[in-house]
Amino acid sequence: MFLAETDKVVLGGERGKAAQFGMEMLIAVGESEGARELIDIEQAHIDGCLLHAQALLDFADYLVDGDAAVVVPTTLNVSSLDLLHPDLYRGDAETASQARRLMDAYVEMGCEPTWTCAPYQLASRPSFGQQVAWGESNAIVFANSVLGARTGRYGDFMDICCAITGRAPYTGLHTDEGRLATVQIDLRVDEDILDGEVMYPVLGYLIGRLVGQSVPVITGLDSRASEDRLKALGASAASAGTVGMFHVVGVTPEAGTLNQALGGRSPQRIVTIGLDELDASRAELDHGKGELGAVSVGAPHLSLSEVAEVVNIASGRTTKVPFYLNTSRDILDQAVVSGVDIGLEAFGATVVTDTCTYVTPIMGPVAGDVMTNSGKWAYYAPANLGVDVAFGSLADCVESAVAGHRVTTGPWS
């Protein structure tokens, strides 16, 4: 691999042991993926601040001991704790203290304490064409697909190695070639299904199962595929599969035409998806047994418009079951400024920031199903929390909470 003089300086250890290790990692991983050079990145998003393993703390300690400091603006993903609502945490004090130590370590390295899995909802989100290094699978797929920014599929450890060196291996989704679609997803469903929101996370789940590591291009969607809906699609696709980028013809910025998304080549595979396939995937995400025990919405973190939608639908009514709303502290700030938070309190929602209900002990024992609008939550919660998940639209989640039992205005509402 070709190294710039500045890279060699870092590799020689002149900028500390942590940066040296970071550079060694970039070279090793870059070479394994065929990269011939490193490129500058303009920002980073770090996924390693959620304490789900002792190894994360050991690694953070290793970096801090090695004088790690980020050299580009760097945001932080969800952690294990809600620092704004610390009483919500039901885990033991020892784990909480370690989780806090992990969070502090990354702030000490110069990262911004944003604590959100939806950094694309922050004002700092990257613009079209910018080279970045993001962790968090749903954020990666959103940055590449919806924003047209360029990031590899970085995970724990690698994201911070990029942030402390300001560099990334020039390969894969960083390059023009690596962003071209090779699989075409031909969606053929009725108009009313495209109107509803449930189809989007279900389609994402199905695509994740189908395409493996390939970049798919979807035909058959239109401007009804809003940012929030593409967020849901990408989050499911990146949970069920290994999708780092997708195109939607006529919607996402590198797919003005099918031909553009494919780079003028024929797709290696064309998969037609109709209602039967969607029905089967929806059933895989929905394991509701009947009784409604709780509701949890927002994975990834709800946007301001989604929070406002919850408040509008709830208007003047209260929830009969525990209702958890996961969002970022930044979105909550905006909700407070616009007065939306008052409606949330009146509704009886438990607002969770900085973390999410499926990654840390916040929900108490639940008698019955947990209903969610999130394909990602539905994907992980059964194994993580041991709960049965009912799946529906955001509106159905709110209506169900008000009724105290599951309400469905239609499978594809």
């Binding site: 394994s32 994360l56 995970g155």
Partner: protein
């Protein structure tokens, strides 16, 4: 046979555990036991510990790397991995485990061995069935 690519070099000898589908290391494998817990995975219940794990690639979360490191730290992880395609999240996990804990988990890309019993050996650029 000669492997297609060495992602992390090293030696490992053990039984193959061939996964029929990709697995998500975060959320799909219990890091305390090394057991596959993803209810959608056809081999739910299988234990990764001590095996040479054979799979097309990992799935899902950015937590894949740290989950692999944790499995290696606790001794519940695979002793080597054979992939159908390069997977940087697993490469990163193995390299970090080597740095933090001195654990070696070689990772190679190779034509996946067919369902097979017996002991196999990863050594540098080769993947062979042991004679014993």
């Amino acid at each position: 046979m000669r492997v297609d690519q060495v992602l992390v070099t090293g030696d490992a000898e053990g039984e193959l555990l061939i996964l029929d589908e990709p697995v998500s290391f975060w959320g799909g494998v219990d890091s305390d036991t090394g057991r596959i817990v993803d209810p959608r995975h056809p081999q739910i219940g299988a234990m990764l510990g001590g095996s040479i794990l054979v799979l097309p690639h990992s799935r899902g979360s950015s937590g894949t790397s740290s989950s692999l490191v944790e499995l290696l730290r606790t001794g519940r992880g695979p002793i080597g991995i054979v992939l159908g395609a390069a997977d940087s999240m697993l490469t990163v996990g193995s390299l970090v485990a080597a740095r933090l804990y001195g654990m070696t988990c070689p990772i190679v890309v190779a034509a996946l061995p067919e369902r097979s019993s017996g002991i196999w050996h990863i050594q540098g650029e080769t993947l062979e069935r042991s004679n014993s």
